[in-house]
Subunit: 602 residues, 2 copies
């Protein structure tokens, strides 16, 4: 059987939501049904149960759903005027549906709606729902082994915490049992690799209720990772001709009036710090660009200074709603691998593609095998609202980006109405080792703000010109990238990123001195170590080292002391190899310097 295409999958999941509701009503007549849309891995449906249900009921619901599917029910579309539709649901005491129809009448002036009825083997109506359509023809098209009820969650009717709290039933659904299994395996793995769970276990970061939600504090081990990533960025950017700068985390309100941030971006900003006197208002910076623009503007610039690439791991603050905050992935403090490239139109293509190549370099380093670049464009209808109203420049820069990417042979897709307010952008989506998707980084072109804030350079003919500005952050933010890397590597980082690179385990007290000597030599070579003294059994210490996900555990016993060797346990492969101490240090140093993905011993 050919696999359904995306659109068929949507129909399948949508149909399955009807099956779910029907099954629930069969099992618990009188349950109030709310809404049930398809989602990216299946569907859900919201119910108001008379008596709460639990995971123990999943089996019965699934069984009932399979029964319905096996009956080969079909769909019939009924067009009703809203008065009849209201009566239909009122008769069945389904008040949520009545409310939905009343709102359609009131807010959208709707006078007819459609119901989709399921028909049983004898043509009898088994269930109907208020629905716009998009279903399979026959429920038998839904593979009965390719869905699974995943979880229950509470959800307010219409997301309004003052309304009824409903029970949401999530169902995973795929075109085949094999794909469902793959998804379930990925989810199981994702649970194990959950960056919030591992972040706590490996003591990488913490949150404090006193500091505030969405404001991670990096502990010592997590700071090592952030520092290593920053070092990578510095080295790469120095090679790429970037200049590092440092700017404060606040600025006067008038800066953001000038740049347009207060007009277009205020909702994402923290409220101002207001002085009663003429000092006025200060804001936390939501982006680094306005500050970098001030540095560009601090001296007169000529074409000889361009391209000028100002880089900063700038720490920005954005006010995400507390409800959407999620571990390191959605935060309020963002340590950004930021840079702004001021260039001429002629330089744009080279600069833009150099940035794209940076991304590719980093993908290899972090073992990112699947990625997609999305070119986010403006929406002409939103000019003057979400986007600065300069249509010609929008079309021109969008075409510049398109041409640059095509010339560089980069695959990309185009998405309307997702640009930055000042120009088109590239969103980079990546997939982790277990197949989960992340939006990592953006690369934006700004044709508007440089002119607005008065940036200029003198061209080779002595004329004043406004530079273009490329905003780029290929390593995203520390928060999002490290959140991704924890999942990507399941907490067992490549040597160069590992908070502790080598654990030292003397077999017994007699080997402590030798182990300390080795520790000293490793530290002198810049290798991060942790000492596990012999007060615990070797087995227990090895388990502890494994729990901390230290790449190498170095065991030193009689033989090793005698041979000037060390027995190295590779925690990932669980292989043990005895190597001369000198070789161990040399090889480990090399692997770290080269930022190898896998430790070379064992």
């Amino acid at each position: 059987m050919p696999e359904p295409v995306a659109d068929d999958l949507h129909k399948l999941r949508h149909s399955l939501a009807h099956v779910l509701a029907q099954a629930v009503l069969n099992l618990w007549p009188g349950t109030q049904i709310a809404i049930g849309p398809p989602i990216d891995y299946g569907c859900y449906y919201d119910f108001l149960f008379a008596k709460p249900i639990s995971e123990d009921d999943f089996h019965a619901i699934e069984k009932e759903m399979r029964k319905i599917i096996h009956q080969g029910q079909t769909f019939r579309c009924d067009e009703l005027n809203t008065a009849d539709a209201r009566k239909y649901w009122k008769d069945r005491k389904q008040n949520f549906k009545v409310e939905l129809i009343e709102d359609l009448e009131k807010n959208e002036n709707v006078r007819t709606v459609t119901h989709y009825a399921n028909l049983g083997p004898k043509g009898e109506e088994t269930f109907a729902d208020l629905c716009r359509g998009g279903h399979v023809e026959n429920l038998k098209e839904i593979p009965a082994d390719a869905f699974k009820i995943m979880t229950l969650a509470g959800a307010y009717w219409r997301g309004d915490e003052k309304r009824e709290q409903l029970t949401r039933i999530y169902v995973a659904a795929f075109p085949s049992g094999r794909e469902l299994d793959e998804y379930l395996k990925m989810m199981e793995e994702a649970r194990k690799r959950d960056h919030r769970k591992l972040g706590k276990e490996l003591d990488l970061f913490t949150f404090s209720e006193m500091v505030g939600p969405g404001l991670p504090l990096w502990t010592a081990r997590g700071t090592v990772i952030a520092d290593e990533i920053e070092k990578l960025a510095r080295e790469t950017e120095a090679e790429g001709g970037y200049l590092r700068v440092r700017t404060p985390h606040i600025a006067k309100g008038k800066l953001y009036e000038q740049t347009g941030h207060l007009e277009h971006y205020k909702a994402a900003m923290f409220p101002p710090m207001s002085f009663a006197n003429e000092e006025g208002e200060y804001y936390l910076k939501p982006m680094n660009c306005p500050h970098h623009h001030q540095i560009f503007a601090s001296r007169s610039r000529s074409y000889r200074d361009l391209p000028m690439r100002l880089a900063e791991y700038g720490h920005c603050y954005r006010h995400e709603e507390s409800g959407v905050l999620f571990g390191l992935m959605r935060v309020r403090s963002l340590t950004m691998n930021d840079a702004h490239i001021y260039c001429t139109e002629e330089q744009f293509e080279n600069e833009f593609n150099a940035v794209i190549n940076l991304y590719l370099k980093y993908f290899a380093l972090f073992d990112i095998k699947k990625h997609v670049m999305r070119l986010s464009l403006h929406d002409p209808k939103e000019l003057g609202k979400k986007y600065v109203p300069k249509q010609d420049l929008w079309i021109k820069t969008e075409e510049m980006v398109r041409r640059a990417m095509k010339k560089n042979g980069v695959h990309f897709m185009e998405v309307p109405d997702e640009a930055a307010f000042y120009g088109p952008k590239i969103d980079v989506q990546i997939w982790s080792a277990i197949g989960r998707e992340f939006t990592l980084a953006t690369n934006q072109v700004d044709f508007d703000v440089p002119g607005k804030v008065g940036l200029k350079y003198i061209d080779s003919n002595g004329a004043e010109k406004v530079p273009l500005c490329i905003h780029r952050a290929p390593l995203s933010t520390h928060e999002r990238l490290i959140g991704f890397l924890i999942e990507q590597f399941a907490g067992l980082f490549p040597l160069w990123l590992a908070p502790v690179q080598v654990g030292l385990l003397p077999v017994a007290g007699a080997h402590e001195d030798s182990a300390h000597d080795l520790e000293k030599r490793l530290r002198a070579a810049g290798i991060r170590t942790q000492f596990f003294d012999h007060t615990e059994t070797l087995g227990k210490r090895i388990r502890e080292g494994e729990m901390w996900k230290i790449p190498y555990l170095a065991v030193i016993g009689d033989k090793e002391v005698h041979d000037k060797s060390v027995t190295v346990r590779n925690v990932k492969t669980k292989k043990q190899t005895t190597v001369p101490v000198d070789e161990f240090i040399r090889k480990t140093t090399d692997d770290i310097v080269e930022r190898k993905l896998e430790p070379g011993i064992g």
Copy 2:
């Protein structure tokens, strides 16, 4: 003649203020006189002139002052009841003096005051002032060649901008003409080394009116210096067993309620960012300690974890009044070489002295030859106001610090009423190469806040204890340290700190390739370079390199290309030396790694 000691110097400067006022009244009778205290390099006096004076009048005033001194006037002390004193000044139409006496009567319930009258050669009264005393016996004791009027400034009566604007005349005064000359030379040198002037010329930092006063933006060249200092701190702190952490720049108000900052330190904080809803208020952090305490508190700790040294180049914000902001020396954003050492009482002495030794290490590195440590103590009268009200702990920790410093053989002086609100501190004062004094860094003991915020560890007997906390910042802030270093090195930094280490100057077009080859080799060795292409004359390019204060200018001509050598101009010594390229790279690399004060070539 033996030089007057500090107390005599104070008398001399105080007497000179009387001379200044008498001279002004002799020259411009009817001038209103306000107050005139001694200051650390002389004295000043505030006047309300009928007609404005200018620098052109300095000579006449100095001449009149010398005349008064040469007369050998003496002082007579008159005790008056305040009614008589008021009448005395009212008769002379000196309204400021009348106001001063009225305030003494009203606010301090004073009923008698003293006047100090000057008596001329015939015993006649030449001038009198409302004054508490402390003068030379005879004005002839003031060396007539050891003072100089320095400058005029505007000053509001009683510092109140709603009151009269007065003219303040500043006078430098020393025990001898030689010392005055030294001071004038130092001031002249300080003007040349002014960090604001050099910061602009060398493009190290900038301020933006749009970002706000007191918020420096570090440009690319200045960022190199900050980065090098941070690298130094990282290396030193890694050796010292510190753990680096990273914390956000904001926190909820309740954190600062708990730590006592909102009670004791609010005046120095930026106003809050207030949400209308239950999110409450957020503040910019004025110190890093509360955040570090949260990291300490994020896991249970045992005596085995102590001492725990959490380090961060934390960026704090303090709201200094705009009037006191001064270049990099008084700012609102402070990038602090911060760390907090959590330790037991038994560990305190070792930890404290390790910190003191860090200071001494850094002093040597930056060629700081003169320094003083001041132990700032609490004031018992201010307990419960400026200081947490725990007298026993104040006395105990002050004694702990005293003992630790004595044991380490550190010279220090004690100053009451200058402690932090949570414990005693060491203020470190240093003197720059031209003899100017800077307060660089502090080292504080905190016996209060750790307990307040619930920090604890389990000691070896299983009991819960509260750790002590040492706050330390031996490299001060980037802002203050770099401000100092600019003056210290007059902008010509040691190789390791120099934004550009080697300038490359091909003699002619034919030598550009070789110069570029050398540049590549230098960059590969991690040496920062700048290329001066041959479009300008060699002389002009050398002057440009000198203007940028690049330590080495590397000239490449025919001979150098042929010999694989380079002619190195040492910009400080102005010596030129021709050395083989390999040797140049090796020696320069070594000098940088060893952080040598002087470049080794030339």
